[in-house]
Structure formats: structure tokens, C-alpha cells
């Protein structure tokens, strides 16, 4: 068989595929919003379900999201990408971009908690101590992504033996929370460190085990408008709604906590 468009049948097949692809893509888009402006939001993967909900309700403009590990998004902004808003799963990345003159002054808009996440159907592991046992497959975030940095902070607060035992069981350093969550829901791994909101988003497939209070890191989410943003006024409205209004409500429903009073 040759790949080519010489025969009418092959040409028809390619044409049909193209029409099908366009039709499927067309069904997914919101045709009523075509006359509105848009606001481009680069956000941490852990914000996906809350922001998607907020985006559907956001009245001023069509929200376009790009979800990835906060560190990847920051790298994109550093190499010249211009989303309107950068929402990070920590405050260090927005603060650093602010110092570099790439974003406006960041604000804290939500807090989260790091938890031990396990597949809901399994009896083990059930505690941090279980994680160090032989044969337990643990997945964590890579050191560059906030969830991985928080996880390492927790591990540093453990005693040497426990920390080394857990690290010896780490089987993958995933680039974002989506990767950790997928490995756990697919039963490929036995435990991982995620935000409590990520566990809520799996709708019962994962279960969260709270960390002892003295191990819990401060997980604060920072957001900033990117300097030179194309849709600055819509971006401001989007940001305001995150602090008070539909965005704050969506975050709360997804399990995020309100930022500390400023």
C-alpha cells in the first residue's frame, strides 16, 4: 500500500477525516462567546478543576487556560511568552518573575495543603511510616515543580532513616500533579504526595491522608498579571473574581482555603 492521494478513494478518505476533525472541534467550542474578548491564563495544573469552573462563569471574557507545572509556565514567560495572568502553586515563582520585571506585583489568592494520596481501594499504605516499607511504589513531583519542592520540605522534616526509606521507594519524579495523580489512579503507584484539592478532583478514586501538623508546609498560591498583557482590563477582572466572587467560590468548592488576611 502506498501513501498518496492519487486515487479518488484515498482523497475522499483524507477529506472525510478533515471534515470530521473540524466538526468535532467545532462542537466543543462555545460559539456564543465569539464576540467577547479573551483572557489568557497560565495556571498550575493543581488549579485545573477550580479554574475551569470559574472560567465557565467568568462574565467579562472568554478564559483560555494553559495548565502545566508552575515551573514550566514560569520558564515560558521568561523566554518571552505573554499570557495575561500567571497563577502559580507557590509564591516564590511569581515573586521571582516580579523581581525580574516580567509580571506586576503578585498577590496570594488561595492556600492548599499537601497530603499523602493513596488509591482509595487499597488497605496499604496508610501512613508516612508505611511509605518506607520495602516494595511500596511512591511517586512525587520533580524538584523543580512546586508540589515536588513542598514534598521535599516535608521529607526534610522527617528523621534520617524515614526520609531515606521513603526516597528509596520513589519510582518517578513527575513534571506536574497530573502525572502523580494519573500514576495513582491507574494503580501503577501505591502512594504519592499531592495537594488535598487534587485528591478531591479524582472524585473518590484517591484518598487523602493528612500529614501531621508539624510536617505540613505553607502552600500558598500566588497570581500576577503579566507585564505587557494584551487583555489587561479583563485580566484585572479575572484576578478580582479570584479574591472575592465566583473565582473565590470555585476555589472554595474545589477544597482550596482562603488566603491569609492581608
Amino acid at each position: 500500500m502506498r501513501w498518496g492521494l492519487r486515487s479518488p478513494a484515498a482523497f475522499a478518505a483524507v477529506l472525510l477525516t478533515a471534515i470530521l476533525a473540524v466538526a468535532v472541534a467545532g462542537c466543543g467550542s462555545d460559539s456564543s462567546g465569539s464576540d467577547r474578548g479573551e483572557v489568557v491564563v497560565a495556571a498550575a495544573t493543581s488549579l485545573k478543576s477550580a479554574f475551569t469552573t470559574y472560567g465557565e462563569q467568568f462574565p467579562d471574557a472568554e478564559a483560555q487556560f494553559s495548565f502545566a507545572g508552575s515551573d514550566e509556565l514560569a520558564a515560558q514567560i521568561r523566554s518571552g511568552a505573554k499570557p495575561d495572568i500567571f497563577a502559580s502553586a507557590n509564591t516564590t515563582l511569581p515573586d521571582a518573575l516580579f523581581k525580574e520585571g516580567l509580571v506586576e506585583r503578585p498577590q496570594v489568592f488561595a492556600r492548599n495543603r499537601l497530603v499523602l494520596a493513596v488509591p482509595a481501594k487499597r488497605a496499604r499504605p496508610r501512613s508516612l511510616a508505611d511509605l518506607a516499607k520495602p516494595g511500596v511504589a511512591v511517586v512525587i513531583g520533580s524538584p523543580s515543580v512546586p508540589v515536588g519542592a513542598y514534598t521535599r520540605k516535608v521529607l526534610e522534616r522527617l528523621d534520617d532513616a524515614a526520609r531515606r526509606g521513603i526516597l528509596a521507594n520513589v519510582r518517578s519524579n513527575e513534571p506536574d500533579v497530573g502525572g502523580i495523580s494519573a500514576k495513582l489512579t491507574q494503580g501503577a503507584a501505591d502512594a504519592g504526595f499531592l495537594y488535598s484539592t487534587d485528591v478531591v478532583a479524582t472524585k473518590g478514586r484517591l484518598q487523602a491522608i493528612e500529614l501531621p501538623a508539624d510536617l505540613q508546609p505553607q502552600v500558598a498560591y500566588g497570581v500576577a498579571i503579566v507585564k505587557g498583557a494584551e487583555h489587561r482590563s479583563d485580566a484585572q477582572a479575572f484576578l478580582a473574581g479570584l479574591l472575592v466572587g465566583p473565582g473565590a467560590d470555585a476555589l472554595k468548592r474545589a477544597g482550596f482555603r482562603a488566603p491569609p488576611a492581608q
Partner: protein
């Protein structure tokens, strides 16, 4: 004005645009930072681990592909049977599958909860989070490149040679080994180079199916992704090495292809 005078220049403009667009990113990898920085960034144990792992896993994957793919391609090239076109299409399907789809499919098939996951576990095999899983992902995405090349190469071998070999008393197997393979070798090697190049560049299927762990499953493309946010120079340095490997493989595929055509013409 003479009709058609615009035509030739517009071809040149189109080619110039394509060439600029397609080479600019490759050039940028080498000029974005100084050569000293590139070389310095390579002196990182994590980077070297990733390159070493990529070398090992791609070699094993290519070996598996050649051992299984050669007889499979020979069968496809020399026999016709009902459903031949369908089989060829199915074998070639991974060529056009998005790597993420390959990763999800491998997880659904061979992962712990996958349809063949139980059998894999019973056999005492572990793939997810293991180097063996990387090899599986690479084999899946790269195999069609070799099988296509080998099938075309076997198909181009003069049938009369194979018939002569059989008439002279060499069996089927001997004809395959001593006549068909040497005659098809340049085309097979060209397919092998393309398969190898695809394996070296594999990213999505590996990350989804095998995960990312230094020295065990973190191949060079995964190491590039991990460094993107924190150490762009190291990401550039690793990219530069992969460009060099990819270029060398493509060049050998081209040269072998030319040799194959020249030999067939004799």
C-alpha cells in the same frame, strides 16, 4: 508581461520560508548560549545519566525491533494474503499515533490495571517505573519505521534472485538469510536509522507509561523537560547532543538509501 514569470520565484520564496522556519530552532539551540556554557552544562551527572540511559534503552529497543521486525517485514513483502493491506495499516498505525496516545494505550494494556497487566505480573515482569518499560515504549513507537523500511527493501529485491537461490537448492530460510537480507541491507539499515532516531526522541509515551526517574526511566528528552524551568543551559546542552545524534542518524539513512538505490540499479 510573460505569463508564468512569477512562478519560479514564488517556488524559491516558498522554499526559503520553509528552510528558515525549519532550521531556525535547531540553529537557536547552538547560538542561544555560548559553546563554553553548553559544554559546561553537559558536565552534570544527571545529564550524563540520561544520555547513558537513552543509549542503552534505544539500543535494546532497536535490537528487538530488528530481530522481530525483519522476518515480519519479509513476510509482508513476499507474500500476499487476505487482509494484507489491513495488517500493513495496523503495523504502521503507531507512526501517526500521538505519543501521549501510545502512553495511555500502553498503560491501559500493560499497566498494573491494564487488560494484560495480570499476565505481565504473573510472568514476574515489572514495566511501569522500570527501564524495561522505557524499552517497551520505545519499541512501540519506533518499530513501524523499521518494518516499513525493511518491507520496502525486501519488496525491491529482484524476485529472480530469490527464485534462483531456491532452484539451486537453498531452502527458504537460507535464501532469506543469505540472499534477501544482504540484498535488502541498505534499505533495512536506512529504516533502522529512522527507527533509532524516533526512539531517541521519544518523550510522551515514556513519561506516561514508565515515569521519570534519574538513571532508571529518565531518558534524555525527559531530562530536558525536567531542566526547562530551572536550568535552561542544561536543557539546551542536552538538546544539542540530541540534534547531533538525530542529524547523524538522518544522514546515515540518506546515504544508505542512496547506496541502496544505486545497488538496485546495477
Amino acid at each position: 508581461m510573460t505569463r508564468g514569470r512569477w512562478f519560479a520565484p514564488s517556488l524559491v520564496v516558498a522554499l526559503a520560508a520553509a528552510l528558515t522556519f525549519l532550521t531556525l530552532p535547531v540553529v537557536a539551540i547552538f547560538v542561544r548560549t555560548s559553546p563554553a556554557n553548553l559544554l559546561g552544562a553537559l558536565d552534570d551527572p544527571g545529564v550524563l545519566d540520561a544520555l547513558w540511559l537513552s543509549l542503552r534503552t534505544t539500543l535494546i529497543a532497536v535490537a528487538i525491533i530488528v530481530v522481530v521486525g525483519t522476518p515480519a517485514a519479509y513476510l509482508l513483502a513476499t507474500r500476499t494474503f487476505r487482509g494484507h493491506a489491513l495488517v500493513v495499516t495496523l503495523v504502521e498505525l503507531p507512526l501517526v499515533l500521538p505519543p501521549a496516545v501510545a502512553g495511555v494505550g500502553l498503560l491501559a494494556a500493560l499497566g498494573p490495571g491494564g487488560i494484560a497487566g495480570g499476565a505481565i505480573e504473573d510472568a514476574g515482569l515489572r514495566l511501569v517505573f522500570e527501564t524495561a518499560g522505557v524499552v517497551v515504549a520505545l519499541t512501540f513507537v519506533a518499530a513501524p519505521f523499521f518494518i516499513r523500511g525493511a518491507q520496502a527493501a525486501f519488496g525491491a529485491v529482484d524476485r529472480s534472485w530469490l527464485e534462483a537461490s531456491r532452484t539451486l537448492g537453498a531452502g527458504e530460510a537460507r535464501t532469506f538469510l543469505r540472499v534477501a537480507i544482504p540484498a535488502a541491507a541498505p534499505g533495512m539499515l536506512a529504516g533502522l536509522a529512522l527507527a533509532w532516531g524516533r526512539a531517541v526522541g521519544e518523550f510522551g509515551a515514556t513519561l506516561i507509561f514508565a515515569g521519570s526517574f534519574r538513571g532508571r526511566t529518565q531518558t534524555a528528552p525527559l531530562a530536558i523537560y525536567e531542566r526547562l524551568g530551572t536550568d535552561f543551559d542544561a536543557a539546551l546542552a542536552l538538546s544539542a547532543v540530541l540534534v547531533a545524534i538525530a542529524g547523524a542518524l538522518l544522514l546515515s539513512a540518506k546515504l544508505l538509501g542512496v547506496r541502496g538505490v544505486a545497488r538496485a540499479a546495477r
